[in-house]
């Protein structure tokens, strides 16, 4: 399993090592493979409809779009929306929030997942290990609405469990309103994310650790290596190639890291630190009816994201010799 872990993202090209076959006309192919066509074409069309057709909407970023006129009749304004965008102070604010929360999440969940996988890997009692795994996977399957509810309840100043404990222990004199302090938003958001996903993120690392050659551990055992030594000199080096590759790939996705959690955990008081690009685009479009500006933001995000993913993949391919997509 360890060596199969090299190419993590399945590729569509590598599997095509076709045997040479005799040439068939297109009509013949369609006739002989009509069942495969029926199985695939309708669903690919649905994907095209919901993933490619919205790209057509990018035209709006260069227009003064109104719902009444539609894309075909709205007047073109060139790069006006983008000029406005790059002068917009709020845009930089929101961009900063998106990037900071993306980076924080990336680092904390990367370190957390590896640490947890290493610790779980050292557990000999199988029942205990499986129980902890089962428990820590649960929050991954629970909606952000529920998580936000839990966080709000725990941190609430009237009757919130954390506040109650802190007051009883004597750390706080009065309950503290955690959720309304904008400075704390990034911390709360990152911890909530870690709590939700850390167990789930260990799955891949545990699979790699389980696939490492047991002879290395046995040899280390004979040489009298301690648990720490085995972890440091066998487990961690075994994990690193894949981990680094995963980390590099995730860097490309930083700007894409979602908006649900920020939407649900944020409120009017924390908006300066909680609003991310998509939510800003949405607010602009819905409240001011300026869809063109919203599309310009969406487009900026998509283009930057693609550039980052491609750039990062290029780097990873150069360093790792393995193709990522």
């Amino acid at each position: 399993m360890a060596d199969t872990a090299k190419s993590l993202v399945p590729s569509q090209t590598e599997a095509i090592r076709r045997k040479p076959r005799r040439k068939q006309s297109l009509g013949g192919l369609i006739a002989s493979q009509h069942q495969l066509l029926i199985m695939s074409i309708p669903f690919v069309l649905i994907v095209i409809l919901f993933s490619y057709v919205p790209l057509w909407g990018w035209i709006m970023a260069f227009q003064k779009y109104t719902l009444g006129k539609g894309i075909l009749h709205s007047p073109f304004v060139g790069l006006d929306n983008f000029k406005l965008l790059f002068k917009d102070q709020q845009f930089y604010h929101v961009l900063r929030n998106t990037l900071v929360m993306g980076v924080l999440n990336l680092i904390v969940s990367f370190v957390g997942a590896i640490a947890l996988a290493l610790l779980l890997n050292e557990v000999r009692a199988r029942f205990f290990k499986r129980t902890i795994q089962t428990i820590t996977y649960i929050p991954h399957f629970v909606s952000w609405v529920v998580i936000a509810n839990i966080v709000t309840q725990l941190l609430s100043p009237d009757g919130g469990t954390l506040n109650q404990i802190l007051v009883q222990v004597g750390i706080l004199n009065d309950p503290y309103y955690f959720m309304s302090n904008p400075k704390l938003f990034w911390v709360i958001h990152t911890i909530a994310n870690l709590w939700k996903e850390v167990g789930w993120n260990t799955i891949i690392y545990l699979a790699i650790l389980g696939g490492l050659n047991p002879e290395h551990y046995e040899a280390a055992e004979v040489d009298g290596a301690s648990r720490w030594a085995k972890m440091r000199y066998i487990s961690i080096p075994g994990l690193m190639p894949t981990a680094i590759l995963l980390l590099i790939i995730s860097v490309g996705w930083i700007i894409q890291s979602g908006y649900e959690s920020q939407f649900l955990l944020g409120n009017a008081m924390t908006i300066d630190y909680s609003e991310v690009l998509d939510l800003y685009a949405l607010r602009y479009s819905q409240q001011l009816g300026d869809y063109s500006y919203g599309v310009a933001i969406s487009m900026f995000k998509s283009v930057v994201s693609v550039l980052m993913v491609l750039g990062v993949n290029y780097l990873a391919r150069k360093t790792n010799q393995s193709r990522l997509f």
């Binding site: 599997a15 690919v44 919901f50 609405v145 609430s156 949405l282």
Partner: protein, 293 residues
């Protein structure tokens, strides 16, 4: 001797740390369960951690009596069942076709699908597309956009590809069509990946609320459970709980904590019941999908 002591210390440290993590994961759910089963006025006094102090089922009674909430629950179930059935069916067909090495469009269709993981129009263009398709405030908006997830297709395709060729080849030589090969042979040995994908799709539908908020918030008859919970979270309980003759309704309205806890439990419990049965499958499914040879 020294080493043995070091190992002992390490083990103790490790078990304690992991047990604490497990506790930190479970505690918030237990806490909400206790609050949801505790009397509202009593909850306001604080101090509910693991167990209710004044047991009551009133909170649940109230939310189940609430017509809007009950209907939202029914719609969530319908959406999840319908969305999972259709989604699993379509994903399976597409993944199978793309796993056939002889399929002449295989390469092209794969590129079309994989590219969508890198490029997307973004939130606002998608919103306007949904508008233009007249899917706003229509039940289909819950099903159609989520019908195919490229990520799921790739996991399932990888699984089909690593099945031994011999199984399908011999059936093909005997004259079986692709549909027959898929349904009579391939699916019979694909339980791990089918349950993994079914779980992913089902959880996605059950947990989804943003499409409800964005595309169907005007139509009360399309409200789902998660969105209702989100409204309780952000607003007060006033809009959710009507005065249905209970003495405690006023107290609950003023202190939505109990009702919020009860709805959270109703939303979370179905997942907790289904998930342990599928765990052994999805770990395998993910590992195969992520680490393709």
């Amino acid at each position: 001797m020294n080493r043995a002591r070091g190992n002992y210390a390490f083990n103790t440290f490790n078990y304690v740390l992991l047990a604490l993590l497990g506790f930190a994961t479970v505690f918030p759910f237990l806490n909400l369960l206790a609050i949801s089963l505790n009397d509202t006025l009593d909850t306001m006094r604080g101090g509910i951690y693991f167990l209710p102090r004044k047991w009551t089922l009133l909170n649940y009674e109230i939310i189940f009596r609430e017509n809007g909430l009950l209907m939202a629950g029914v719609r969530s179930v319908i959406r999840t069942v319908l969305g999972t059935t259709l989604g699993l069916f379509c994903t399976t067909l597409l993944a199978y076709a793309l796993s056939r090495k002889e399929f002449f469009l295989r390469k092209q269709l794969n590129v079309v699908l994989v590219l969508t993981m890198y490029i997307n129009g973004g939130l606002i263009p998608t919103y306007l597309l949904i508008r233009n398709l007249h899917l706003m405030n229509h039940f289909a908006v819950y099903i159609l956009p989520l019908l195919i997830s490229v990520y799921n297709v790739i996991i399932m395709r990888s699984y089909f590809e690593q099945l031994p060729d011999g199984i399908t080849e011999s059936a093909k030589i005997d004259g079986a069509s692709d549909f027959q090969v898929l349904f009579r042979i391939v699916l019979q040995i694909s339980l791990p990946v089918l349950s993994t994908i079914a779980l992913f799709i089902a959880v996605g539908h059950w947990n989804s609320w943003f499409d409800n908020y964005l595309y169907a918030s005007r139509n009360q008859n399309l409200s789902l459970l998660q969105y209702t919970l989100q409204k309780v979270l952000i607003q007060s309980a006033n809009e959710i709980v009507s005065d249905n003759g209970h003495a405690n309704v006023q107290a609950i309205r003023n202190n939505p904590e109990s009702i919020r806890a009860a709805i959270t439990m109703v939303v979370t419990l179905p997942i907790l019941f289904v998930y342990p049965f599928l765990q052994k499958y999805f770990v395998k499914g993910i590992t195969i999908g992520a680490m393709k040879e």
